[in-house]
Symmetry: C2
Subunit: 126 residues, 2 copies
């Protein structure tokens, strides 16, 4: 159990990265969440390599993101965005989106609420 | 009203910075929140300059933070941390904390739930 009177400081380079099963050359790590006693939302980091990305998909939860490094083409609904370092990105719950790395490594934070998520792949019409 | 089927992409350098009244050489900006249709939490960025910081205080809400640039001494409860770029920081609700810039600019993201916040300054015993 986490001591609720204490803070947590983590150098993120020391945290384990896990493969994102639905992605290509994509890894993720939880930075802050349940295990730290965080009651409402979790902060994760994604790292995508050369030729990497995620196919068009939906999540049950919204994403608040911040791009740390690199560049990618990010499709959200019907629009394609050129996304790069120091861009803030909001993806509403249920809106299909995809990532295609343009400049690797493409690294971003992705904050999600603690409610259950499901990921569903979406057929692209273009 | 925000179109809930659309995403949002913002270069954060284009967003207005506001002075943090309780701080020294400290500015903040909302990156993602209510105005984007975000239902659960808000992502803000803080920028602190040379000699800047925030005095020991509490908030009614927890903070999930990510340090983008610079270095600071961050006191959380009874512990002082040397905090730098690519550190994730968790400050539980109600736990007193302060920031003292060591290497400016000290820039960090701070994600908070949408519930009401109050800030209260705390007398330091040391």
């Amino acid at each position: 159990m986490t001591d609720s009177s204490k803070g947590v400081v983590k150098p993120v380079g020391e945290l384990e990265l896990q493969t994102v099963q639905a992605g290509t050359a994509a890894q993720t790590q939880v930075l802050l969440g349940d295990e730290d006693g965080a009651p409402n939302f979790a902060m994760r980091r994604f790292v995508m390599g050369e030729g990497g990305g995620m196919p068009f998909h939906t999540n049950a939860v919204e994403h608040e993101q911040y791009v740390l490094r690199g560049r990618a083409r990010v499709r959200i609904g019907d629009e394609v965005h050129d996304v790069r370092a120091d861009n803030a990105v909001y993806i509403p719950a249920g809106v299909p989106h995809s990532y295609d790395v343009v400049e690797a490594p493409f690294e971003f934070l992705c904050v999600v609420p603690n409610s259950p998520d499901t990921i569903e792949l979406v057929e692209q019409d273009s």
